[in-house]
């Protein structure tokens, strides 16, 4: 009886149930839903990166579209121009987006508040202009075609997993989402993560305890850039065509918006936000302008009335409900 009680209250049960739903639902329903859920997973990965930076370290960056773009283009260019396979290009794109994050982070993190946000935005616009204008390298506005799908994985009993169907790509990207989710969970609960939270809550106080806030912020920025780069490379592999459009600065804004609606600084926020804000408009087949209009209005309403986001408000409510009988 006690074990069942423990199992029921353990958060991991809920997460495993969620994973099971994510595994089964596309298999059963299939079709267009798989495409939507794949996009949701890619954005959820990018949101986890922004969540580390904004939700836990308190640094708002609206320029992470730059790292989405760097990851995607690094992956695509290395795979196409050098003819390397999926995995070498993928690893290289992760390293390159990490280096880019590190190099951009050093000057940007010297600034605070609005100044920091604007510099991240400026970098995103610069990167996007380069993607558009350096036609010999990036193919300009037409984009870059032919990014590879993952290499087939041979199984010990002779079968081979291929990544040609949408469903297999969905599972491939979901696999990365789960790994990055677990890594970010472990990170947040480590000493480094606690330092991030301390910086978010009071940077001066953290510094007064002898913690080097600059290097910690740089670590947070670089990790979030790497995660965004992974999302970009996965998108490139999924879509096989990379265009500057997929890294326009509005994409960076959208990631932040998904996170705020889902709940910044919560574990579930980066999953809930993209799921609701991408899946619902897609299923209703909204006109892009109307979608953007509603998106803006919903975002404003959330900031004014529910600043904790969906996940934040739900956990706040459940903790109040749970705490009442225990007090008796």
């Amino acid at each position: 009886m006690k074990t069942i009680e423990q199992l029921r209250s353990s958060p991991w049960t809920a997460w495993l149930a969620l994973l099971l739903i994510a595994l089964i639902v596309p298999l059963v329903l299939g079709g267009y839903l798989i495409t939507i859920l794949t996009i949701v997973c890619i954005y959820a990965i990018a949101c986890i990166g922004i969540n580390l930076l904004f939700g836990y370290t308190g640094l708002l960056s609206v320029g992470h579209s730059a790292f989405l773009g760097i990851g995607a283009y690094a992956f695509g260019l290395i795979a196409i121009r050098f003819g390397l396979g999926f995995w070498p290009s993928f690893c290289a794109s992760i390293i390159i987006s990490g280096i880019a994050g590190f190099l951009i982070g050093i000057p940007a993190l010297r600034l605070k508040g609005h100044y920091f946000v604007l510099v991240t935005l400026a970098f995103a616009v610069i990167i996007n202009i380069i993607m558009m204008a350096w036609i010999e390298l990036t193919g300009g506005a037409a984009g870059l075609a032919g990014a590879p799908r993952p290499d087939p994985i041979p199984l010990p009993w002779g079968d081979v997993i291929r990544f040609q169907s949408p469903l297999s790509m969905y599972y491939f990207i979901l696999f990365f989402l789960v790994i990055i989710f677990v890594v970010s969970y472990r990170l947040i609960n480590s000493l480094v993560g606690k330092t991030f939270i301390a910086i978010r809550d009071d940077e001066n106080l953290t510094q007064s305890l002898g913690i080097n806030t600059m290097s910690n912020k740089l670590v947070s920025f670089t990790i979030s850039a790497i995660i965004a780069g992974i999302a970009g490379a996965l998108f490139a592999s999924y879509n096989t065509v990379i265009s500057p459009d997929s890294a326009s600065f509005m994409k960076g804004v959208e990631i932040v918006a998904y996170l705020i609606i889902g709940g910044a600084g919560t574990l579930a926020g980066p999953l809930v936000g993209p799921l609701i804000m991408i899946a619902i408009p897609e299923m209703l087949q909204m006109v892009p302008e109307i979608r953007q209009l509603l998106f803006g209005i919903i975002l404003v309403l959330f900031i004014i009335f529910l600043p904790k986001g969906i996940a934040g408000e739900v956990s706040f409510l459940t903790s109040r409900i749970k705490s009442q009988p225990r007090n008796v």
């Binding site: 010297r110 609005h114 970098f123 202009i129």
Partner: protein, 311 residues
Amino acid sequence: MASNEQDLARPPLFINKTVDTVFSVIEFGQYLINGISQGCLYCLLASGLTLMLGILGVPNFAHGNLYMLGAYIAFYVVAFFNMSYWLSIVIAAIILGVLGLIIYRLIFYPMRNGPHANLFVAAIALLMILESAALLWFGGETKWLILPYSNDVIRFGGMSLGVQRLIIILATLMVMLGLELFIKKTTVGAALEATAQNREGAMLCGIKVTQIAAMAFAIGTALAGVAGVLIAPAVMILPSMGLGPLLVAFSAVIVGGMGSIRGAVVGAFILALVESLTSGYISATYSLVFVFAAMILMLLIRPSGLFGKEL
């Protein structure tokens, strides 16, 4: 057509320079003139932005969209209602001032005590709302506002300046002079400046800070509207036309120091010259990259900007 004028104001995309090309004073002078007329536009936008930042702490990311609305107002007033272009300046200032009050009351007033990130995201949400509303309302196709003198160009010593560009320069001088007089000579203006310098101190002196903030927001949006009307005859009118000027004007505010009108004016001209000279001598495609590079360099050398308070 208006496109002629634009070609003159905007240097060609790539200028083929051979090794034996000597430095041309006329070419340089032309880029300076282009920079100054473009700087006037940035000046109107940046001074509104810096007022909002200094008094409310709002980084109004939708400023470019308010400027776009100003241009559409000019288009509809002149082309649809056959009214005078000069009247459209007043109409745009009034409509956008009122719109500014509504935006302030509905969006920025409720979150005035929240963290700065919220203000930023709300401003971006406002950008999304205004841009998509404009797309739905006005349509995505390009509109041209053609005035009787749209083709006219003043030439002197090999350099040229479109008449509309001259109007922009003169009108900006008048508006900025009016703003300066308003802030320095009237009581309300003094209250505005006091609030920007020290919010708590202003409250203690009995200044109604919320009203001053609403007024500052309305002045900023009205200035954006005026800028939009002024540029309307010289460019393509599109729902997305505001983004480029917004980014430069924002950089100008940072270069000048947030909250300082003088700084915004100086920053606007510095960046406009950077833009016109780099697009003339290096590449028009990358001119925004140079503008941002100048801004980032400035921030690293002097993080509080030219005229900003020491951090």
